[in-house]
Symmetry: C2
Subunit: 457 residues, 2 copies
């Protein structure tokens, strides 16, 4: 039986998706509309087109079209690193001595080191098609900035990245990858934007935050002719592009007649999780199948498990549309001891609404346990995982161990979003036994909840 | 026509080689035997078994057996990251506007980031099978040490790595990857070995060299019970294991009816080049086909193009067998400005003999040009290449541009041995316009040639 399924299931290039899937189209109760921060009314495509390029603004607000054609140029780019393998984790199964069958969709086999490239090329493509000169964005851990740099280099589009200052300083190699691809990388908060100057004045010596870098990137985009802002997670358009992960996964499973029982994804802003689960949730929405879906988030930034479902600002400078989401409050910043990504205060509105409707469950895990799982995985499966991805590994192992107890032969599928090659400072801390865990107190969370905006919606 | 060949040719797992190919078996004039450093007579399996485990000692000296079965356990490990893709460089072709068809065999899609894993798992496997406790080795840039750490972690074998001190300090992340895989990493020269103490006393504050780290690793292996020494390049056994690269490449080309015209590989110790070209040279030796084969080496460490063909020491401490090879002399150390690997003073005896017999040609290239080629490749093909691999890219581009001039539709195949994710210090120097080139003078080379050992062979 084991021999029948190869270690790595690679689809043929002609089996790659030709359309992205928009799960919102099949939801009876849709995610709440995003709001104009000035009027607090649902934002229009026209308003959004000042920030995003037009086609992306349309994709963002379209919750009725189920399928969007993937332009041929984007499909050609995808062919450079896709289809990504669906790997049967034979060695991990053996190590755990579990009857469960474990599969992971590996998105790290490209220079950006993660799934982020799937949306980066789409966003860069539409910007190029609209005749823009360039795009601006923010990056935290650096995966998104790297992905966007690669996409822009390919299309010969200018790329300006505001990189959270502590990452800029602690991850000089990520910065150099972006520079090698021709991107302009600025530590945030900078003195180039109004919001950057304001935050630098308010908090001298601040090492920055994602929310602040977003505000800088947006300001920079709207103040330059021929530029728009792009974002690597949270947005509905990003989930749409990332549906390629789930679609490929489903095709590969179907090809071998495998029915997933549990689907697990790490969750920061929700782009990977949303992309992975979209086609499976689509089946659930239509009553065609049922899956146990688990979102895994850091205990130090637990937006689904400990946040509130409310309208909130997406950025510190409050220039972006407001989104109804599970959020810890836009003033929440994870503890300094938190390594890796998954540090956004909120969650994609689509994932939030699906969670609220009970289509998925969520768990939070502490990082020391996450790194233990990562190390074990690296040793037996040969891939050094990103800290983000390792959250999913941790819960996949937990579920496989439950199967060992019960003797159930469940099919566990998880998303291995990327590699940890640029996260060795965190691994070093772990190797030296100096990694610590932090769980925010209820009082801390209450403080950031109190700063949530008041809306009637 | 273009549509017929996919971007990435992936073989099925059952198409992977079940045997390694030993090109020496088909050579009429064989590579010269390696010599015992004490007696200066050809070394025996028994003598070699003090340093290497027995099966590897046998493989090292066997120049008549053409095929060696790959044990099933090693093939299972290979399945975690192999077959590696043979990529059609459509985007590079378009960028160059060349009629040439360019293919590259990409060996970087694994955590060690290079082809080194192919031999690491084989050497660790035979050590484990012999009941050893562990292995020792040296590493320079760190690819080999990482690969060996991964293989040893998988087989639960102890792994002791002597890492050239300057790399240990400048590449802390490589070191951390090895530590994450459970390896013990010691900066070389250390105070743990006699040779290390001697060199530290002779050259206080030295930042080490590959030749010195080899001597330390060998001393450490022979002085510990249940340990043997393993080496990632140069040796005939390594070329044997690396033949998996060439065999897969040939199967993939044959599958699509592609006849390679030019085959290009970077050359340091010769493991990648030797592995890539083995089955093709095998055809040439049997008169079945003809290929233009080009070895590419750094202008700052030009063993084939400017070395002499003579018996030389493989290590600084002179504890390893002597090998007849193209060499710059074991006292040669590349200039400090030289980035990346390919810094060994000699060349695999098999590659040396094939070169001497005219089966391949060699070129040396300066590193600034190499990094320019690397950057262009990264932008259009989406993979940030290792500096080592980029030597092959540079010459592949040169050959493709010649085709543009002549209008010839040649099939150019090159080995892309790895990724540059841990080489960002070198890329940063390039990005900052601070990379320099160094070509050793004739006087410098003469000095190290004069220190060559005197043998009658």
């Amino acid at each position: 039986m084991k021999q029948e399924i190869p270690y790595k299931i690679y689809l043929e290039e002609q089996e790659m998706p030709k359309q992205w899937y928009n799960v919102r189209a099949d939801m009876t109760k849709k995610p709440a509309p995003i709001l104009n921060p000035e009027t607090l009314k649902p934002v229009t495509v026209q308003e959004l087109s000042h920030i995003f390029c037009e086609e992306l603004a349309r994709q963002e607000l379209d919750d009725t079209t189920a399928y969007f054609d993937i332009p041929e140029e984007i499909r050609n780019f995808y062919r450079m690193y896709r289809p990504s393998p669906l790997v049967r984790a034979y060695c991990l199964e053996e190590k755990l001595n579990t009857p469960a069958h474990i599969y992971y969709k590996f998105e790290g086999n490209n220079t950006s080191g993660s799934h982020k490239l799937n949306s980066a090329i789409a966003q860069a493509y539409y910007a190029k098609k609209q005749g823009l000169k360039g795009v601006t964005t923010e990056t935290g851990a650096g995966q998104w900035g790297t992905a966007l740099s690669m996409a822009c280099a390919y299309l010969e589009l200018d790329c300006q990245v505001y990189m959270v200052k502590c990452s800029y300083e602690q991850k000089p190699f990520r910065r150099e990858v972006m520079r090698t691809y021709g991107a302009h990388v600025t530590p945030s908060p900078s003195m180039d934007t109004e919001v950057g100057r304001r935050i630098n004045a308010q908090f001298p010596g601040t090492s920055g935050s994602l929310g602040c870098a977003i505000s800088e990137a947006v300001e920079s985009a709207v103040s330059q002719d021929g530029y728009r802002y792009v974002l690597g997670s949270v947005l509905s358009q990003v989930l749409l592009h990332q549906s390629v992960i789930g679609l490929e996964t489903k095709t590969a499973l179907d090809k071998y007649g495998i029915k997933a029982d549990i689907i697990i994804g790490c969750a920061g802003g929700g782009s990977n999780l949303g992309g992975l689960i979209s086609p499976f949730v689509g089946q659930m929405l239509k009553g065609e199948a049922d899956y146990q879906i688990i979102a895994v988030e850091p205990a130090s930034c637990p937006s689904l498990t400990r946040g509130v479902y409310a309208y909130d600002y997406c950025d510190t400078g409050k220039v972006c549309p407001l989104s109804k989401m599970y959020t810890l409050g836009s003033s929440f910043i994870p503890a300094a001891s938190h390594a890796g990504g998954l540090r956004y205060h909120g969650m994609s509105s689509t994932v939030s609404e699906l969670y609220d409707q009970g289509f998925l469950t969520a768990r939070n895990v502490e990082q020391t346990e996450v790194f233990k799982a990562a190390q074990m995985f690296a040793k037996v499966e040969g891939i050094l995982p990103a800290p983000e991805s390792s959250h999913a590994i941790k819960v996949a192992i937990d579920e496989a161990m439950k199967c060992k107890e019960t003797g159930e032969v469940k099919n566990i599928v998880f998303g291995l979003t990327g590699t940890g090659y640029f996260d060795m400072v965190a691994y070093q801390r772990f190797n030296d036994g100096q990694m610590s865990d932090y769980i925010p107190t209820d009082e801390e969370l209450k403080k950031s909840f109190d700063a949530l905006p008041k809306t009637d919606l």
